[in-house]
Every structure is written in C-alpha cells, then in structure tokens.
C-alpha cells in the first residue's frame, strides 16, 4: 500500500472533524474521496501532505504512513514529504512568473541550477501534463495569461516537475468548463500509470469516470470504501446508496 491510514483523527482546536479514518491507498491507482460539503474529505486529503500544518490550532492524531513511514512522527522532514506528495488545488494558483519559471520553481528551490536540466524537466513535465504543445513557443510569457484550464494543467506540470510519487488533487476541475474538465480527467487517467493519485471531488460522475477506488465520507467518518464500480453499482451501506443516487437532503 502506498498510503496507509489507521485510526486517524483530526482536530481544529477542540473540534473533532475526522473520526477514526482507516484507509489504504494502493499504488498507481486513482482513489476518489466523495461526500457532501463539510464531510472532511478535503481536510483528510491535506493531512496526507501535512498542508494542514499551516492552520493554527489544527492537529492530527493517529497514523498516516507513506511508503511505510509515519509522516506525523516527530522529526519528519515536512519539506521532503511535500516533494514526494504533490498537490493540485481547486483554484489554480500559478505564480506571477513566466510559464517556465512556474514549472521550474520546485526544481530551483530544490537546488537545481543547471539550465539544461531545468529546461529538460520543464519540457517533460509540460508534456506529461498535456500542455507542452500549447505553450512550447511562449515559455517566457506570463503564466497568468493562460486560460483557466491551461493554468490548472500548468499547476499539474509544476507539481509533476519535482517528480513526486503521489499526487493529491483537491477538486482540480471544479472551477473549469466542461471541456477543460474532460481534458483534466483524461490527464488523470494517463497519469495513473506513473503516479498514485488521490482526488477529492464533489462531482460524483467524475469520481465514477476517473477513479479505481472510491471512499465515501460523511460528517468526518469514512462510511464506505470500495472499488468504484461497487460504490456506484451496488454499495453496501444505505448512506452510500442514498448519497450516490441523490436521495440526500
């Protein structure tokens, strides 16, 4: 298992928002986290690369192992963790730099200076993100000039450039139009050959289209976790069935 979660709780101050999550994410597959708003799926996702650390009063309790190592163990190098576990956000957040500098950012802060190495990695990452052909002639232009869908693919390329093993995606297509969304979904499908992907989505059909396994969260608890086909064709839990068929109020 690439990611092993055991009895994981999460607190914002005194409020417990995740209760005893148990989850195993297999390698090189897409695992989707679904559930109504506020069910904790994003909080859980951000716990995997410890992005919740930046929130004061937020703390996790329990076990999350990536490749067998507890990421909340004292002395864990969070910076190194975040290079192995990349993240793409709901609202694309390219830096106000050129396209090239955006993708190269992670490499540069990692100490890579060699121009050729940077250029090669930038090209490879942009190709992996299915963006290279659209931007190869304007790498020095501002990233902000790209369309929404292109910006999101740029952020994916940026995340891929540091060669993570795991890619966390927090509603990556929710701010995009249907065509851009479909392109992202296709990209995810291609990426899973090389990366372990965990995606939070509030769009159930997207989860059904794109993922191999699906976890249904509700009020901070993991209600059901199974193969996507099972969740969407024959779920075990009534709550899952109700959610997936749209019987929720």
């Amino acid at each position: 298992m690439k990611i092993h979660v055991q009895d994981f709780d999460f607190y914002y101050g005194d409020t417990k928002v995740l209760h005893g999550i148990n989850l195993d994410v297999p390698e090189r597959q897409v695992t989707a986290l679904i559930g109504p708003s506020g069910c904790g799926k994003s909080t859980f996702l951000r716990s995997i690369n410890r992005m919740n650390d930046v929130i004061p009063e937020a703390r996790g309790a329990g076990l999350i192992e990536v490749d067998g190592k507890d990421i909340y163990a004292p002395g864990t190098d969070v910076v190194a963790l975040r290079r192995r576990v990349g993240m793409v956000f709901q609202k694309s957040n390219p830096f106000p730099k050129s396209i090239f500098d955006n993708v190269a950012y992670g490499l540069r802060i990692g100490g890579v200076r060699d121009k050729r190495a940077l250029a090669a990695t930038v090209e490879r990452s942009l190709q992996r993100a299915a963006l290279w052909n659209e931007v190869k002639d304007r790498l020095r232009e501002p990233a902000m000039a790209l369309s929404g869908g292109q910006q999101q693919r740029l952020c994916i390329a940026r995340a891929l450039a540091v060669d993570p093993e795991i890619l966390l995606m927090d509603e990556p297509a929710s701010a995009l139009d249907p065509i851009a969304t479909t392109k992202i979904e296709e990209l995810i499908w291609e990426l899973k050959a090389n990366y372990t992907i965990v995606i939070v989505t509030h769009n159930m059909q997207q989860a059904a289209r794109v993922s191999d396994r699906t976890a249904f969260f509700m009020l901070g608890r993991l209600v059901e976790y199974a193969e996507t086909n099972t969740i969407f064709m024959n779920p075990k839990e009534k709550m899952t069935e109700d959610y997936v068929t749209g019987r929720f109020g």
């Binding site: 969407f232 064709m233 024959n234 069935e241 997936v244």
Partner: protein
Amino acid sequence: MHVLRHFDKDIEEIKAHLLRMGAMVEDSIQQSIRALLEGDLAMAEQVIANDDRIDQMEIQIDQHVIELIAKMQPAAGDLRFVATVMKITPELERIADLAQDVCERVIEMSSEPAIKPMTYLPRLAEDAQKMVRDALDAFVRGDAGLARAVIRNDDVVDQLTEESFRALLTYMLENPRNISPAIRLTFIGKYFERMADGATNICEMVVYLVEGRMIKHSAES
C-alpha cells in the same frame, strides 16, 4: 426520496407503464389459454389483434428509460432498476408473441379433428401463466425470494412439457390423422414452456435489481 422529485416521478411512471404492459401480457396469456381449452376463435383473434399494442408499449417504455439515463445518470439501485426494466420489456414482448403464436395454432387446429382432452397441456399452460404473474409480482414488490421460487419452478415446467410431448407422441402413433393437430399442440406446449423461460429471465433480473447479484447462467438459474 430523491432530492430531484421529478426523478421519483419518472421512475414511478416507468414502473406503472411496465406493469400496464405486464397486465396486458397476462391478459393475452389468459385469453390464449381459454381459446385453447374452449376453442374460442374470437378470443384467439383478439389476442392476435392486441399484440401490436403490446409491441408499441415495449418501444415506449424503452424510450422512456433511455431518456431517464441520459438526463439523470442513475447510479446504484436506480441504475440496476433501469437495466432491469430494459431487460424485462423484450421478455414481456416475446411472451406476448408466444401467446399470439398459441392463438394462431388454435385457429389452424379448428378445422381439424379434435384430440382427446389433453392432460398435461392445460397444467403446463396454467403453470406458465402463474410464473409470469409471479415474476411481475416479484418485480413490483422487490421480492427476491419469490423470484427465486419462480426460477426453480422452471424445472417443473420443463418436465410437464416433456410429458405433454410424450402423450402427444402416443396420439400421433395411434392414428395418422392425429399427427397434424398433435404437432400443433406440441408447438403450443413449446410456446408455454418458453413463456415460462421468459418468466425465469425476468426473475433473474429481479434478483439482480434487489440484491445486486447477477445470477444469469449460473448454478442458481
């Protein structure tokens, strides 16, 4: 209930439509049995005439279901429901066609000498009729147990068909003049046996709908 209430309405409409079709098919079976046992040719003609309406219903229900899939992207139980409906409609249509076939043979036989009162055939016909009725009940009530009982009964129907055939064979051997009507009756027996098969198929889908398990072509069926 679905948050989208018109989703519920659509499903109820499809169910009701399917049950109306089922009722019409049951009527056709009933009428074909009476035509067979009482030699009522007018009834036989009526069954044949009604078949068109049943065919139309199959098309309409299928259309309604496809629209629902396009609009609502049903999932889980709803998805199994639409898959089941789309598998039941052609079965019902075939059963209705079989009733029509029975009536056609009855009409052909009317100009031929009658055979001694049949023993196995009436039982076979009524068994098949009951199976179809139970299959539709199982669908309406979501009763997997009843569906399984119907499936098991198919063996009985097959047995009755075989015995009916043997009896008719005897008639044929007795008197060459019996051959023609006996053969028509053999056909009729086959038709009822296939109605029972259709009811069995419907019940397999009901089990799928209720339990999420596909038992077609497995040891259970």
